[in-house]
Amino acid sequence: MTGPVLTALLSHWRRRPFQLATLLLGLSLATALWSGVQALNAEARKSYAEAASILGGGGLSELARTDGGTIPVETYAALRTAGWLVSPLVDGWLSSEGGRIRLLGMDPFTIPQDTSIAASVEPSLYPELVGTNGILLANRATAARLPDLEDRIRIIEDLAPNMILADITTAQDLVDMAGFSRMFLLPDQPLLRPDLASVAPELTVRPPATANDLGRLTDSFHLNLTAFGLLSFAVGLAIVHGSVGLAFEQRRPVLRTLRALGVSARRIVMCLIFELLTLALVAGALGVIVGYVMAAALLPDVAATLRGLYGATVNDALTLSPLWWLGGVGIACIGTAVAAANGLWRVARMPPLASARPRAWIMASSHAMRWQAGGAAVCLAAAICAVAFGGGLVGGFVLVGGFLTAAALLLPIILSSLISVASRWSRGPIGQWFWADTRQQLPGLSLALMALLLALAANVGVGTMVASFRATFAGWLDQRLVSDLYVTVEDETDIPALMAFLEDKSDAVLPIWHVDAEVMGAPAEIYGVVDHPVYAANWPLLSAQPDTWDRIAEGTGALINEQLARREGFSLEDPLPLPGGWTTTVIGIYSDYGNPLGQVVLPLETLTRRYPGVDRSDFGILVPDRNKEALTAALTEEFGLPEDWITDQGAIKAFSLSIFERTFAVTAALNVLTLAVAGVAILTNLLTLASMRLPQLAPAWALGLTRTTLGRLEFIRALVLAALTFMFALPVGLGLAWMLLAIINVEAFGWRLPMHLFPLDWAWLGALSLGAAGLASIWPAYQLVKRPPADLARVFSHER
């Protein structure tokens, strides 16, 4: 018996293939965007875990210097000969095409056997690893980015991405380091050993590093992606909800007949569930495939972003587990269930003789406007509470979510009022009919228009944020990169010679020496600056005292970056505890866009006195533009500095901006996709409505409006609604941009950006939304124009 029931129910789709396509499209798109984003996140997280398991020895504690300096080999030997089983590591970076590559030097003699490092490296490779010109280990993709080292690299396919493994001596050579960065503390220590303080008092034991450390830094980025995925999923589900509900409603007569012919309500519901499940499985499978393609296309940008912004290592290629595929199909089923729950519930509860009212079903939302207004108020209240009482990144996202939902719920009310105003101003019968009819159409289109609103607002908001960021960042780079040339010396004993060489060839030489350390329990960089007027003239400070630069010149106080100030709640004149057990005073806060780490700037003399192990290899040179090339040539030819070690200010700027561009390439792509989904939502809604609008159109036709006129009016109506939605989306988007800049960014990255407005972008987006609405309405309008008059006439003869 189930067979004929299914035949009857499913035959609906055969007669309405377009409705079926709509449903599948909506569901596939929702699934695709969702699972695509999940794929990106999953791949990144997997890469973090791999990298962390290599770098962190899979949960081994570490020994490191409290001031972040390098550990002398003698200290290592002293520890070992005292009975401390530690294994030395050299951390470094190699520059390559496509961003830095993590270099990890390890000691094959002492590396614990159960670490990922030991597992990644066949013992048979050890002899080649050890000694001068030892080999380097990398996976194929990473190796391809280091053509200069080609003959020294051995491919290890399973090695974590963006990572080079080498013997400690090889790594020391490559990064020009004399000691070790840190040491693994082996889990099984011998019976007797002295206190750490009596052997190496400058070292501390750090708990095992985990993938979470990197996860914390990149959380905001992934949250951003997830939010977009959810938004798109919601928009997709709106389409599904619309078409599933309509399909149920249109089939009411069938359901009534089936009940009359002796099919129980239970069986009908079961058959409908079966039907939905089939649709969900098909659409889910399609969506997962599309999501995979999307993720694969976006991943290189995501990987480059994470590398550039956070130094995280992420694969360029997707390797997804079967669980991900299942998850994608699962989310399609869940989405379908959510979207269809209402319809199914009504079918199950429906009296057998209830008659079908598809148009009423679609228009039902007109009664819901009051409820929507109430819902909007609740969402706004939740949003405000989240910020007022919750705070944090999650609070920020609740604010954004609540704000956007409220705006979406308010849209029909606002559009309805706008249309009322317009109809009052319109003259002539056609105009009046047009506005009245538009208003009547509104409930049926409101879901699609909400989707459009969300997509547009997201576009305006994110676009404004990105463009503001770009404008601020570029200006900031101009100021911050005060030196004209940047040079790196390989051997610190060359420094005096370099200074002497540059003495009369440049305006000034500014050491850019730094040490990586822990400040307030989190990794940070400590830099030193000399007293030079160029800093006071160029360095943009967010807050400062009148005598800030004088005090730097005197050697007292420190500047900190905005990230550190926000994270620890520092303001001017606060005491700043620094590694090594001393405290200085915060005398200035500067913006430091794009840096995930806290930063401290000390007078150079203080830096070298407190931290003798600073990295002294980098210098900035002030030189008039006209002499720049000559000086570069002199440095390479006369002084013998390799060309690679001299960087032009412009090159750094270009590199920084390129990282920035890639950071937001993904966001931009998701933006466009969301807009596309909204366009599809409008198209499907218009097409659905078109089939039911004949009774509305036929009287106008009978009274003398040609089908062409009607078609044109339909087209114009879509444009008008899109334009009105866009007008509302603009303030919503700007509000969103403000929230992103003033709340989300501060929470996620630790810096606040000034908001810039870009009206030209809005014009472009407005045109785009009109284009989308126009495209979506052109087919239904054309269908109306080509409609046989008999169809319209039948409206009057058919008593329905």
Binding site: Y76, R80, G83, S124, P127, V130, G131, P190, L192
Partner: protein
């Protein structure tokens, strides 16, 4: 005891001899190492120190110990040097330490690896010090040394002093290992008396006993047909010492030679053909059958000794695994000593 030439193949996790051989060959491709010379005579104390011109070398101490109740213990303290290149530079040396305690309740062992040139391992002559990490054998000279080593569940601190001379093995210290002429420089100090403390999971144990030091260096691995070795050192009841090794050769049978050492330290080589060393009892150790009792016979010398493992489970589960533990001797002579078996 040249057979231990296999052990310094530091990086072979697989204990298979074939692989070890393969690696040995690899290490040998860079010719340039010195080869043992029959004309060489030892000069002390210089020869107690490292010979980096040779590829492999070790300082190998085994001791038979007893506590106050007469319970048997055995300890092993070993430092291997393996050159990564013939340069002789300290940074081209790899070092490996093995330490073990055989007890009635189990065999405890530990292993350490280190690279040379960074102060983590090495050997100095005067005053004598051989060390890897915190494991040390040190004293004013090699005749009087303290040795210590530990793992995460045991430790020992022992004082060794010898009342006899260093004894060259083979022909004046030139020790031939195979039918085709592989050889090493090899001397021993079998006359140490020992006292000290063992730190065991059950607690501290005061022990006394006798120890045996082997010093050996070479550049050649086993001959291609040789699959492993069995080595015995014995302290006999009348003050004599006996060392016998048996190189197992697939093609020509076993290559068995040894040294009979008089109480005054005078060595008498027991040459190929005159000695027999035969497994008589087998036991399952670490998943395989190993001989845990041997008959050693030399007609001319009147030797007919049965050697039995005191703790048959004395298995060294290190990267290169082998059996090494204390033994008891009965028969024509009685006594105690150490047995090593590798390549099974």
């Amino acid at each position: 005891m040249n057979a231990r030439a296999l052990l310094p193949l530091l990086f072979c996790i697989t204990p298979s001899l074939a692989m070890a051989q393969g690696f040995a060959e690899l290490g040998q491709t860079s010719e340039g190492y010195a080869l043992p010379d029959p004309a060489t005579r030892f000069t002390f104390p210089d020869d107690h120190g490292p010979h980096p011109e040779f590829r492999i070398e070790w300082w190998y101490v085994t001791a038979n110990l007893k506590d106050a109740e007469g319970t048997d213990y055995g300890i092993q303290w070993t430092l291997f040097r393996n050159a990564l290149s013939p340069s002789g530079r300290p940074e081209d040396q790899a070092w490996m330490g093995h330490a073990a305690v055989s007890t009635p309740t189990g065999h405890l062992f530990a292993e350490r690896l280190a690279r040379g040139g960074i102060g983590q391992a090495g050997v100095a002559v005067a005053p004598f010090e051989a060390f890897i990490d915190e494991w040390r054998m040190a004293g004013p000279d090699l005749a009087t040394v303290s040795i210590t080593a530990q793992g995460h569940e045991f430790r020992y601190d022992l004082e060794l002093s010898s009342n006899g001379p260093f004894v060259p093995q083979g022909e004046d210290g030139y020790s031939v290992k195979s039918f085709v002429g592989q050889a090493s420089h090899y001397y021993s100090q079998p006359f140490y008396s020992v006292s000290g403390t063992l730190n065991l999971p059950k607690g501290e144990v005061q022990v006394t006993g006798r120890a045996w030091l082997d010093r050996e260096w070479s550049s050649q691995p086993l001959a291609p047909d040789q699959t492993g070795w069995d080595w015995v050192s014995l302290h006999l009841s009348d003050g004599e010492k006996l060392m016998v090794y048996r190189m197992r050769d697939q093609a020509r049978g076993a290559y068995v030679v040894g040294t009979w050492i008089a109480p005054n330290g005078l060595p008498e080589p027991l040459r190929i053909g005159s000695l027999e060393m035969t497994p008589v009892e087998w036991a399952e150790v670490a998943g395989q059958l190993l001989p845990v009792a041997w008959d050693i016979a030399h007609e001319v010398r009147g030797i007919a000794i049965r050697v039995e493992a005191i703790y048959p489970q004395s298995w060294m589960g290190t990267r290169i695994s082998y059996w090494e533990g204390p033994v008891r001797a009965i028969g024509s002579h009685s006594g105690e000593g150490y047995l090593e078996m590798s390549g099974y």
